[in-house]
């Protein structure tokens, strides 16, 4: 089980969340394009947490862990804010509705996106496909 890294849900923590995530992905030998893509989705998750979720309450925090696989790169992301709103409804597609863009990117760019509520936490699991397979060595 990968170790979760925990951060306060404050906008000033953005790079403290994203830079280690990117560094960890690159250190695993994952393709840079895939790591950047995951960074982008992690940013959208974190910004949503800060602006619309646990960042609005004292003690709000987030936690994340990378879950690299052979054909996918996964991210487990948690925040202790109120439950997420339900997914966007069909027809809710106004591209200039600024607040909705982050979720739209998440839903379109992740090959898999699940979210659930667990013990006061929103738990998101997302995956992106590694186009040419992961650079990880074969499991021994």
């Amino acid at each position: 089980m990968p170790r979760l890294r925990r951060h306060p849900a404050e906008i000033g923590q953005l790079l403290a969340v994203l830079d280690p995530l990117e560094a960890q992905g690159l250190a695993l030998g994952l393709p840079r394009a895939a790591v950047l893509r995951l960074r982008l989705l992690a940013e959208e998750l974190f910004i949503n947490s800060v602006l619309h979720g646990c960042g609005r309450t004292a003690g709000g925090c987030v936690a994340w862990a990378l879950k690299p696989g052979r054909t996918t790169l996964g991210l487990r992301y948690l925040d202790n804010g109120p439950p997420w709103p339900p997914p966007a409804q069909p027809g809710d597609t106004d591209p200039q509705r600024v607040g909705g863009q982050g979720l739209r990117l998440l839903e379109a760019m992740a090959s898999r996106l699940t979210r659930r509520r667990l013990g006061g936490w929103n738990v998101v699991h997302l995956e992106i496909l590694l186009r040419n397979g992961s650079c990880l060595p074969p499991a021994s």
Binding site: L14, P95, V98, R104, L105
Partner: protein
């Protein structure tokens, strides 16, 4: 992110380098808004050196585009890298924001 700026007769051309994210989108927004010329309210955003843009950057593009339109001007984007173009496509902004393949076309648009 660093930001190159050229003032041409037809437009101001901004060339950000690096990433446009929640940490620096505010600075980009301030620079673009401050550069709106009341006489030539036209800005070209050359994204050739931008490898990453998040929704924070999209927000800046929408906001600056609206502001220019209100003043009878235009915002034109050019040279989008693959990931950046994908983000614009998913966001639904392609078609609402002028996007061209290169700077010459952007200046002519």
């Amino acid at each position: 992110m660093s930001l190159g700026i050229e003032k041409l007769e037809m437009a101001s051309v901004f060339s950000p380098q690096g990433r446009i994210d929640g940490a620096n989108a505010g600075a980009l927004e301030a620079a673009l808004l401050a550069a709106i010329d009341p006489v030539v309210p036209r800005i070209v955003l050359d994204l050739a050196q931008v490898e990453y843009i998040s929704s924070a950057g999209l927000r800046v593009v929408v906001l600056v585009g609206k502001r220019l339109k209100q003043r009878g001007g235009k915002l034109v984007l050019c040279n989008l890298q693959a990931l950046v173009l994908e983000v614009f496509e998913i966001s639904g902004l392609v078609g609402l924001v002028a996007i061209t393949g290169n700077r010459s076309a952007a200046l002519a648009a």
